[in-house]
Amino acid sequence: MADTSRVTPLAAPAPVMSPVTLLRIVIILTVLAVWELLSYSGWLYQDVVPSLLAIGGALIDLLTHGEYYFNLAVTAGEVGTALLLGGSLGLIVGITLGANRFLSKAFESYLYYLGPTPKIIFFPIMIMWFGVGPGSKIALGTLSCFFPVALSAAAGMRQIDKTLIRVGKSFRASTAQMVFKIYLPAMRHPIINGVRLGLGVALIGTLLAETKLSNKGIGFLIINAYSTFDMPRMYAMLIVLFILSIGANAVVGRLGGLDTIKRN
């Protein structure tokens, strides 16, 4: 019937990609084209804007040599250790402060003062304490990661529904049972959020420290490429780092997201 054919838009083909995706692709292509033009124009000092071909070549060169992966592993290990140390320390301190009004009044303001301070200013101290190797980078990453996790955990602890705590107590849960079966699951959203922020700042802290003073790691490679004026290699490393950061953030976000869908 004529009527039905009018209300069924099945005949219209689904668009291959959404307008947003299309716009993004257009923007990226434009930037690349402008970049390439700029590199051939000679308006800027030679090699500051290397051609895409040179960067591509450097990228392949980078990814086909073991040296890069070794340094990547060093940095990943530093960030991972920093996240583990700073995260667990932050969690313990945050839960303690959140649970105890007296301690929270006495100490929490320090966390708020120190939290936004750029941790890189402590790097000279870390070098003196832990040396120029991975130790000082882990220390700086740990310090960076500690604050957001501790503050989120303390806030999360205070937001726990008091009735749920009373339920636990009425069933005579032990302290460990209260922590693992009530406090932690009830705080899962603020904790995941804190870990996400913590990962970001641990990455920043570690890389920043590596660019300052080190002999291995991605930060070291980047600053090394810069000081030898190997721009294509430097850009190639920035691109890889950029992609890795997006990936890491997506993984943590996914962990939080899955939790939300499954258990509200």
């Binding site: 009735t163 009373r166 339920v167 005579r172």
Partner: protein, 281 residues
């Protein structure tokens, strides 16, 4: 007025003996519960009713061991309690299900705490889920259920710990009237089936008369025992009893007692609003 001591007999399973609870507030010491004594017999359904501010929720927390008392003694089966006791299972007025646990895992919570093996506790949890009429919802999460269903999950969770005494603080207060009456039926049915000794804290007269063997009426601040009324209505009961003549007489009798207290409470509250404690000095 019935002398409180006469209400206690030797076979009472729960004894509240001369309990006093005082709080220190900025305006001085306030007596919330004032020399309250009563006993609960095994298998009995006893309700404590009183106006807001009569200290009945304080009493709930004291009997449940979540709040200390200033004077007196609370004992279960002859054992003095100071702290949460395994013989007493509490159901709270507020939302109290764990949102991150499925219905089964919520109900199995107390069994998990005592280290019961998983298969066994799931089986036990299923039994109590079925008892409160939530078959088919075992794997749902609390946010997928209605308020009345969540309150049934809380009830099943407390029953799963198999307490000697079920202690409930206005468990239906947040629900609408019809859900409340039907849920009352469910509680009555379960209570009669399990011969569960139950102590219900409420401000709802209909609810109290519908379910109780005895009703303890409390005075407005400080909370004292005003009267204990025997409810001599036939069992098994359902919400249909609400329409009977005898039911109406009990409601009228208890309202007569409560009216006095409630209006005292209301005057007191109005006074407080007119002259807040801090503004006098």
């Amino acid at each position: 007025m019935t002398p409180p001591a006469a209400q206690q007999s030797n076979n009472d399973i729960l004894v509240v003996d001369d309990v006093v609870v005082r709080f220190d507030t900025p305006d001085g010491s306030v007596t919330a519960v004032d020399h309250v004594s009563f006993g609960v017999r095994p298998g009995e359904f006893l309700s404590v009713i009183g106006p807001s501010g009569c200290g009945k929720s304080t009493l709930f927390n004291v009997i449940g061991g979540l709040l200390g008392h200033t004077e007196g003694m609370v004992s279960v089966a002859g054992v003095t309690i100071n702290g949460p006791h395994q013989s007493i299972g509490m159901v709270f007025q507020e939302e109290s299900t764990f949102p991150w646990r499925s219905v089964t895992d919520n109900v199995a919570f107390p069994l998990e705490l005592i280290g019961m093996p998983k298969a066994q506790r799931i089986e036990r949890a299923r039994h109590f889920i079925s008892l409160v009429g939530l078959d088919g919802f075992e794997n749902r999460y609390p946010n997928e259920l209605s308020g009345g269903m969540r309150q049934r999950v809380s009830l099943a969770r407390t029953l799963a710990s198999e307490p000697k005494i079920l202690l409930m603080d206005e468990p239906f207060a947040a629900l609408d009237e019809q859900t409340r009456l039907l849920l009352g039926d469910k509680v009555l049915q379960i209570q009669q089936q399990l011969k569960q000794t139950t102590l219900l804290i409420t401000h709802n007269i209909t609810e109290a008369v519908q379910m109780s063997d005895r009703i303890l009426v409390m005075t407005y601040r400080p909370g004292r025992v005003k009267r204990i009324v025997d409810i001599d209505l036939p069992r098994p009961r359902t919400s249909e009893i609400v329409g009977s003549e005898a039911f109406g007489r009990y409601v009228a009798q208890i309202w007569a007692d409560l009216r006095e207290e409630a209006s005292r409470g209301m005057r007191d509250e109005e006074d407080h609003m007119m002259h807040p404690a801090g503004s006098k000095s």
